[in-house]
């Protein structure tokens, strides 16, 4: 075992079969910045191997989905999946807790490789009740605030503005949801923040020397939980859902969203939701419960996110219900 990736109460073993695969495994762990103690319950293993030629999809198995954003095709054979991009092929047996990853040598230079590896981890974690959500997770007054939107909607900038104002945080981009007896909770999945050089000046840390963000060459990957450990949170119970959109305005505004609007917005940011009918039902039900426990708003994000973060912090703090935890 080369490393153990701990996500909430779960641990995934990462095993590399050669030096190049070990380097990719190391970068994956650095990218996720997850705990590596291995103290969680073992839910599976990811085996990484560098190959000269990617394996073909299993014969006779139909294509289940194509994800053009990642140049990814997916085949489903009962409970098992086979993903393949031009650089990576992954066989996942979620019920057995096994993911075998074959990589071409040039895969390490592609951000899509990490997106595919994240999908493999999602497939391993899913039978254990952890569902992925493309969202930032913040904490204010002990209440969780999720910010969900497609890339380029100002999620990372807003998250950093609120962290700068003292809000707690889980992630600026990738969360896992867990349905618990006390409601749906969020855990950090990827803990590095992807920051643009101009926003680095907001932090009391050196502006240079950070690794490049694998999925976005303009950004650097900053291990925020190491830099601001007092604000890093391990999980939260979301009571506010924000869906930001950048607008040409000086001041940000909030518009309440109907539950059905919030649910469709969350579904658009939930990877793998359409993959399997059984999973989709469970996934939609959990997202529905999340919407049911939270207030939802469209955030029309103005220039004050950059120019007056304290005003945005006050605006968004007003959405957090006082005493929600005691209810």
């Amino acid at each position: 075992v080369d490393a153990c990736l701990q996500i909430g109460p779960h641990a995934v073993r990462i095993e590399a079969r050669d030096g190049a695969a070990r380097e990719i495994g190391h970068r994956l762990l650095q990218y996720l910045a997850a705990a590596r103690s291995g103290e969680g319950t073992d839910v599976g293993r990811v085996e990484l191997t560098t190959v000269g030629e990617l394996p073909e999809a299993p014969a006779g198995v139909p294509v289940a989905a194509r994800y053009e954003d990642f140049d990814l095709t997916l085949w489903q054979d009962g409970d098992d999946f086979f993903f393949r991009s031009s650089l990576v092929a992954v066989t996942v047996a979620p019920r057995r807790g096994e993911a075998r990853v074959a990589l071409l040598a040039e895969a390490s230079a592609s951000g899509d490789t990490f997106a595919v590896l994240m999908l493999a981890l999602c497939a391993l974690l899913r039978p254990h009740g952890l569902l992925p959500l493309h969202a930032a997770g913040l904490v204010h007054a002990s209440e969780g605030v999720l910010v969900s939107a497609a890339s380029g909607s100002g999620k990372s900038t807003l998250t950093l503005a609120l962290v700068r104002e003292g809000w707690g945080f889980l992630s600026d981009d990738a969360l896992l949801l867990e349905d618990t007896a006390s409601g749906v909770e969020a855990l950090p999945f990827r803990r590095t923040f992807g920051l643009l050089p101009e926003t680095m000046a907001w932090l009391p840390v050196p502006a240079e020397g950070w690794p490049r963000h694998p999925a976005d060459g303009r950004k650097v990957a900053v291990p925020m939980a190491d830099l601001l450990p007092a604000q890093a949170a391990e999980r939260c119970r979301p009571s506010v859902l924000l869906f930001p959109r950048i607008v040409e305005a000086s001041e940000s505004r909030l518009l309440p969203l109907r539950p059905a609007e919030a649910l469709t917005a969350l579904m658009r940011q939930s990877g793998l939701i359409t993959l399997d009918p059984g999973w989709a039902r469970e996934h939609m039900a959990v997202l529905g419960r999340l919407v049911g426990q939270a207030r939802s708003y469209r955030l029309l994000a103005g220039r004050d996110v950059l120019e007056a973060p304290s005003a945005v912090s006050r605006l968004l703090a007003s959405t957090v219900p006082p005493l929600a935890s005691a209810a």
Binding site: A65, R258, P259, A260, E261, L263, T264, M267, R268, I273, T274, P277, A280, R281, M284, A285, L287, G288, V291, G292
Partner: protein
């Protein structure tokens, strides 16, 4: 010949949220929001239903005439059929 019946597509997953619902078509990966009347019709289509049965249910549960219920149900079923959310079935 018995009347045409309508049945929801098993590849469509739905979640109710108060008086609305969200439908997800797993094949096309498209999402739909339906209102209170749409939700009432969608809930009936878990089993094969004729247009008359749907009209009866709407006229009973909502304050509408049978004529208005038929117009609304016909239009909604046409949209559902066009996007493959329901199927026609001969009883």
């Amino acid at each position: 010949m018995s009347p045409l019946q309508y049945l929801s597509n098993p590849d469509v997953v739905s979640t109710e949220l108060g008086e609305e619902a969200v439908l997800l078509h797993l094949q096309s990966q498209r999402y739909y929001t339906v209102n209170e009347t749409g939700l009432a019709i969608w809930s009936l289509l878990a089993e094969p239903r004729s247009l008359d049965e749907i009209v009866d249910a709407l006229a009973q549960d909502f304050e509408v005439t049978r004529e208005d219920a038929r117009t609304a149900a016909r239009a909604f079923l046409d949209e559902l059929l066009a996007d493959g959310l329901v199927r026609e079935a001969q009883s």
